[in-house]
Amino acid sequence: MSFQPVKFYQTGTFTVGNRLLAPEERSVQSSPRRFNSLNSGHRACQGCGEALGARYAIDAAMEAAHGQLIAANATGCLEVFSTPYPETSWQIPWVHSLFGNAAAVATGVAAALKVKGRKEVRVVAQGGDGGTTDIGFGCLSGMFERNDDVLYICYDNGGYMNTGVQRSSATPPAARTATTMAVGDEPGNPFGQGKFVPAIAMAHDIPYVATATVADLRDLEAKVGRAMEIHGARYIHILVPCPLGWGTASNETIKMARLAKETGIFPVFAAENGVVTEVLKIRHRLPVEEYLKPQKRYAHLFGKQPRVDVIARLQALADRNIKKYGLLDGGAN
């Protein structure tokens, strides 16, 4: 049973940790006893969606594991900003090995725990979209097919932001990056490329796959909580806007994540054993322009001669998501 949205009478928001909720329904993060697994003082950019997502996800995993958690981290923003030697923001046992091997390192950690009979200790692996969907994909797929007892969390900001905003296989079509320049007839990232790893994870028949965004943090916590109830390979893919890479204001991170969900650009759902079991519905359907326009990575679509053709293609992709995942009330699941 995942989190059910509660619309508060006073504010009409989905505010996390509202004190009017019953204690058992309050968020992990609202608790003064939260673990602060990723502690303050790290060096993420202002408005970093990944730092926010990681804080909620790892604290929720810690809560579920009663503080018995080990994390393996891929190279990337999260690794760099959290552990500038000799400082570390991690309050949990944490290991960083390489860019492309976080899933395999986590497999090794889980194997060692198993052989040592440390059943109470759980394992998470985490990385950005580059470390997950590109360079770490072989190790990720191997971990999935062996059904190793690891929760892998991908923080997807749609590119290699740590190296200066280059394209990854999670970069959306038409987006400008340093390697998909906004020039030529088809500016930005080409259509028809890229991959949606949650669907590929489902194809591995692993017990749990979910997507989430940093706009619905209580939903994210609930999904991490559900994932931690299960043993075997689990995958959570979190959309984390990047002010630097997306060209958005640092105070608009959560808004951008919400727009991604409300336009249908990013479907938020959960699947168990390869079947979609729940969908976070769109509350106020919006056209994709609402999501695209505030982002400088799409600025080339809104110049003197707006690229209505490209915007229409992006709208078609969002419409396809809405239909495929049943993102509107009454829509097919």
Binding site: T83, Y85, P93, V95, A104, G108, K116
Partner: protein, 417 residues
């Protein structure tokens, strides 16, 4: 217990006696029999308290090993050739993190052209990776070195590579003395990690290190290998006390004390060389042998001590530093710096080319007369090489080299000179 068995099987038994807790397996010839043997022991219950993980690549094999070793489990894997190169990034990472993983490298050539047979270019490509590198001369020594390797790795908190010649040793059936569990337990204490991922005492491992400390971290890696040079003879002596056998150590001489000409080599070819030296000694030639067991750290003082009385040194190596000559020879030259000794590099046995006694007799006799080029390629088929060079001169689109050469050589699976 004396046993007639395959080299790979002997190694699998030795590793099992060391009570490994995590084994990562990925097939690559000629290593595969080792992990197959171990996998069977785990699955049958003969080897208890051990996780055997079939991974999807060598890169994953070493990465899983990194995770399990960092979580305090005694960890083993094996690879060869392309597999070692495919995991290279993680090979460096394991030593950088100071994780005492033990890995067998069943030495095999590196392509292209693809070749499954033995030489040392795979292991030697990782000579600066921060791993200790031991080279076995016989199957018995391969078995023994694995037991010593776990001890060495865990005492120093550094990974150790045990290198044994692919096919020549891994697939050869020989008599080996397999020690008892009691003997191995007496020699190898349970693994006490220096660093471990444990919620009881959270640590961050693998942080970003800038210019302010990187040099010092790397210096320590070097200093620890230097420590190994001091400790290895003691571990070998202790091994002898428990198992009653001389095995391991830094390097070993054979008829070298009064030799004018000393042949330096690593691995199984030492057996052939010693046979040739026996015959030459019987004929009155003052030749001797230096076998290097420990290539990293390089036992520079012992090598110098063993060679400094010789008139000339012939380094016969199954590796090639393309554009320079020898890899082992370069290291030996450093050990002999400022001494008036000629060092000849002989590149031999690449890609499994047999190194025969007949060729060695001729080679060593030429060496005694100082009639060798600085770099010699033993039994090189010069006619085939010249034909290809002529082809390239004549035609711009001369075609793929290896395929041209094979056509010229004719249909021969393996040709013994």
């Amino acid at each position: 217990m004396l046993k007639q068995c395959e080299g790979s099987h002997a190694v699998a038994e030795a590793v099992a006696l060391c009570r490994p807790e995590v084994i990562c397996a990925y097939p690559i010839s000629p290593q595969t029999h080792i992990v197959e043997g171990l996998g069977e022991m785990v699955k049958s219950g003969e080897l208890k308290n051990c996780e055997f993980i079939n991974v999807e690549s060598e890169f994953a094999a070493m990465s899983v090993a990194i995770g399990s070793s960092a979580t305090g489990a005694r960890t083993y894997t094996a690879t060869a050739s392309q597999g070692l190169l495919f995991m290279a990034e993680a090979v460096y990472n394991a030593s950088g993190l100071g994780l005492p993983i033990v890995m067998t490298v069943a030495n095999r050539a590196i392509g292209a052209p693809i070749n499954i047979w033995n030489d040392h270019t795979d292991a030697l490509s990782q000579r600066d990776s921060g791993w200790l590198q031991l080279f076995a001369e016989t199957n018995q020594e391969a078995l023994d070195l694995h037991i010593q390797a776990f001890r060495l790795a865990e005492e120093l908190s550094l990974p150790v590579m045990v290198c044994m010649d692919g096919f020549i040793l891994t697939h050869a059936y020989e008599r080996v003395d397999v020690p008892t569990q009691e003997q191995v337990d007496a020699y190898l204490p349970p693994y006490e990690p220096r660093q471990v991922l444990d919620p009881k005492e959270p640590v961050s491992i693998g942080a970003m290190v800038g210019p302010e400390a990187f040099m010092e971290v790397r210096y320590l890696a070097h200093a620890k290998q230097m420590q190994a040079l001091e400790r290895i003879p003691a571990y070998a002596a202790e091994f002898k006390a428990v198992f009653g056998r001389d095995s391991g150590g830094l390097c070993h001489t054979y008829h070298a004390d009064d030799a004018d000409t000393i042949i330096v080599a690593m691995g199984s070819v030492l057996g052939t060389i010693k046979d040739v030296v026996d015959e030459m000694r019987a004929a009155g030639h003052k030749v001797g042998v230096l076998g290097i067991t420990l290539f990293r750290p390089f036992p520079i003082h012992d090598v110098r001590e063993a060679l400094h009385r010789a008139k000339r040194v012939v380094v016969l190596e199954k590796s090639l530093a393309v554009g320079l000559g020898g890899i082992v020879a370069t290291n030996v030259r450093m050990a002999l710096s400022a001494l008036p000794i000629d060092v000849y590099t002989v590149v031999a046995g690449l890609g499994g080319r047999p190194i025969t006694m007949r060729s060695l007799h001729a080679l060593f006799r030429k060496a005694e007369k100082d009639d060798l080029d600085p770099v010699t390629f033993l039994d090189l088929n010069r006619a085939v090489v010249d034909k290809q060079l002529a082809r390239e001169k004549a035609t711009r689109r001369s075609g793929p080299i290896a395929e041209n050469l094979l056509r010229d050589v004719g249909v021969v699976a393996a040709k013994i000179a």
